[in-house]
């Protein structure tokens, strides 16, 4: 099979580095497969004229692929050279440009779009909703299935860092068979600090005092720092209040407007009925006080978290 032709203009647009890297890797693989010589130009150290020099035909013929990363940090010289090249494209030269966002380099960006550049969007993966979508895409493009609970467990366990989320996803895809659910994710990532924190928080918000305390003690005994546990507790209460005061609407709508993942909305909706506004207020105060003590304001950080758990589980039923 003949290699697919490389589009002569490729625009990789957006700040999410892992997506940018992937777009570049796949484009360059295509270019190399088509026999093109790949030339990388660094926006930060660009010397005027270099682009046009590389774009001129080489003595030995053959096609070239010029890669300019970080147009959003490009000097005026580089931008002018890019515009010149775009105005007078060289034969057998393809151009790949990445732009992380912002106003700088906008003119080049617009020109490329107008010339019909093949655009790859790399939007930031920030909220839990973005992360859930990302995981689902990772699985579906590998033709694999992951349950909603599985996505939730994975995002909770390793969602802090998108790269880690990506590598955890590909590990699960490679190492397992069939549908991936939360139990499978737990086998791989259940020992993570975050996962422990979530279990403690889940039990606390659900009012399971004994279970929450048991999980906390177990976590502390295995060397888990109480700080992230408190952070997770705070985040869950925050979501509960947001969802509780957001009113009606589908989970998807709410998720979008609150920057949460739909499963988080559903989870909060299941719990909210057990809580009064006053109870939630008491709970948040308890977490803030515990965080202060954990950060050195109190003598015994573990006791501080235990006390918060007691206060919160009691506040749950209170009307």
């Amino acid at each position: 099979m003949a290699p697919a032709p490389v589009p002569s203009l490729v625009l990789v647009s957006g700040p999410e580095e892992i997506l940018v890297d992937r777009a570049i890797t796949s484009t360059l693989a295509e270019a190399r497969a088509a026999g093109a010589e790949v030339i990388r130009l660094d926006a930060a150290t660009y010397e005027a004229g270099a682009l046009l020099m590389h774009a001129s035909p080489s003595l030995f013929g053959g096609s070239k692929c010029l890669v300019v990363r970080d147009l959003h940090e490009a000097s005026d010289e580089l931008q002018l050279d890019l515009l010149a090249l775009l105005a007078d494209p060289a034969p057998d030269v393809s151009l790949v440009v990445t732009h992380g966002g912002g106003m700088k380099g906008k003119k080049v960006l617009d020109t490329m779009k107008r010339l019909g550049a093949h655009t790859v969007e790399c939007p930031a993966i920030k909220t839990d909703r973005d992360k859930s979508d990302f995981v689902m895409k990772e699985f579906s493009s590998a033709r694999r299935k992951i349950t909603g609970e599985g996505v939730r467990a994975l995002v909770e366990a390793v969602g802090k860092d998108v790269r880690e989320l990506a590598s955890a996803s590909s590990q699960l895809i490679a190492d397992t068979e069939g549908v991936v659910d939360d139990a499978v994710v737990d086998v791989y990532h259940g020992g993570k600090v975050e996962a422990t924190g979530f279990r403690v928080a889940d039990a606390t918000v659900a009012g399971q005092q004994g279970e929450a305390l048991r999980l906390l003690r177990h976590a502390i005994a295995t060397g888990v720092d109480p700080v992230p546990i408190v952070a997770v507790l705070a985040a869950q209460l925050r979501q509960l209040i947001k969802v509780g005061s957001a009113g009606r609407g589908s989970s998807a709508q709410l998720a979008r407007s609150l920057g949460m993942a739909p499963w988080q909305v559903d989870k909060a909706r299941r719990s909210i009925g057990h809580w009064s506004a006053e109870g939630l207020a008491v709970a948040v105060q308890a977490v803030a006080a515990a965080d202060f003590e954990v950060k050195g304001g109190g003598r015994d950080p573990v006791y501080a978290v235990e006390r918060a758990i007691l206060t919160i589980t009691r506040a749950r039923g209170a009307r």
Partner: protein, 383 residues
């Protein structure tokens, strides 16, 4: 004209310092300037340095005066840190420098703007210089309060306490020095509670005024728990915006200054590797500072927020004290109508508690949420 012109509302201090300039018996080798943020500690120290260098004791006009005031005098060294602490290596270098005789001036002056940020070891290194003073060398240390300075240093320096300058004096300074018109200068001085730097920023930057107004408005809008959580998020964001807006300028200026000291051409496309490395480390430092700065901004917003409750309390108790927010009278009045004196004090306590917690590294959003929940009003005030 005099070198003391911009040292406002500090008559007793000026008297002490002026006497030291002319009377050897009133002079000493180490001074400690304390005063609330924005009261002009470093302005006072610079003015003192200028007066010491000036042949006429601080005319404010001559070359000595001007260079000492703007920080370019060869024998006046101003140490300002944006970092979290002043390190022992930096202090050792200063101590060495302090042992030298003045090169052109009458005194060698070393002004340490944030003596409260001396690490313990750095303070020890400094102590040596204070214990064995070099003739013609003067140390001027600045800190918010005596408690912020290690006791051994405190006991070896003469203390000068600046007070919060009167609102009118700050307004007058803004008019005279910065060309700001009278009503705006008065508003800004009042709203900034006499913090000179902040007042200037408020007077000049409409964005800062809007952000302040938004913070003030918050006090009358929190009714349910959802409002409280939303207000906390807004507050964190307002501080974030304010921090970004004010640091962008400074970051760029610092980079320019660094390039200048390295002798690099700031317009050059490509910098040589050693310059690039230094620029990269500066940028990293600026980033850590931004986090700290955002926290400072939240603290400032909380001071602003406290002022509304304080005004409401003043109104409620009928005390004869000037209000900080006469421009937000409707809100102040509404609050004093709906909350008892005790509840107003409770609100102020809640805000202070949040400030303490943020200082202790509690995530700002969580501390603000706990605070805002305590600021919930018994009913909608219609704002």
């Amino acid at each position: 004209m005099s070198v003391w012109r911009d040292v406002i509302g500090q008559e007793p201090t000026i008297e002490t310092l002026s006497r030291a300039v002319v009377d050897d018996a009133a002079m000493t080798h180490a001074w400690l300037f304390t005063g609330p943020p924005g009261s002009g500690r470093s302005v006072a120290a610079r003015a003192f340095a200028a007066a010491l260098q000036c042949p006429q004791g601080g005319c404010g006009e001559c070359h000595e005066c001007r260079t000492a005031l703007d920080g370019s005098h060869a024998d006046v060294k101003v140490v300002a840190t944006e970092g979290l602490s002043i390190k022992v290596e930096d202090t050792r270098a200063l101590v060495q420098e302090s042992a030298m005789r003045p090169s052109v001036g009458r005194w060698r002056v070393i002004i340490v703007e944030d003596a409260d940020r001396l690490t313990e070891r750095a303070a020890d290194a400094l102590l040596k210089a204070l214990e064995e003073p070099t003739p013609r060398t003067v140390w001027m240390l600045c800190a918010p309060s005596l408690e912020d300075v290690i006791i051994t240093i405190r006991s070896r320096s003469r203390h000068v306490r600046l007070r919060t300058p009167p609102v009118e004096a700050v307004a007058e300074l803004l008019q005279r020095r910065d060309g700001i018109d009278a009503p705006m200068a008065l508003y800004a001085a009042r709203a900034a509670q006499s913090h000179v730097g902040l007042a200037r920023r408020l007077a000049r930057d409409e964005g800062a005024r809007i952000r302040r107004r938004d913070v003030i408005a918050m006090a009358t809008k929190i009714i349910g728990v959802g409002d409280a959580i939303g207000a906390a998020a807004d507050l964190a964001q307002i501080a974030d915006e304010e921090s970004t807006a004010s640091s962008a300028e400074r970051d760029a200026a610092e980079k320019a200054r660094l390039l200048e000291t390295l002798g690099a051409d700031p317009t050059a496309r490509t910098q040589p590797p050693h310059v690039r490395a230094q620029v990269a480390s500066l940028e990293k430092e600026q980033k850590t500072r931004a986090t700290r700065h955002a926290r400072d901004m939240i603290d400032r917003s909380l001071v602003d927020l406290t002022s509304v409750y304080r005004d409401a309390l003043v109104l409620r108790l009928g005390s004869d004290v000037a209000l900080v927010n006469p421009d937000a009278m409707d809100k102040v009045r509404a609050l004093s109508g709906v909350l008892t004196a005790e509840q107003l004090l409770g609100a102020m306590d809640a805000i202070n508690e949040a400030r303490d917690r943020i200082n202790a590294n509690v995530p700002p959003l969580l501390a603000l949420e706990a605070m805002a929940l305590q600021l919930r009003l018994p009913r909608d005030l219609g704002f």
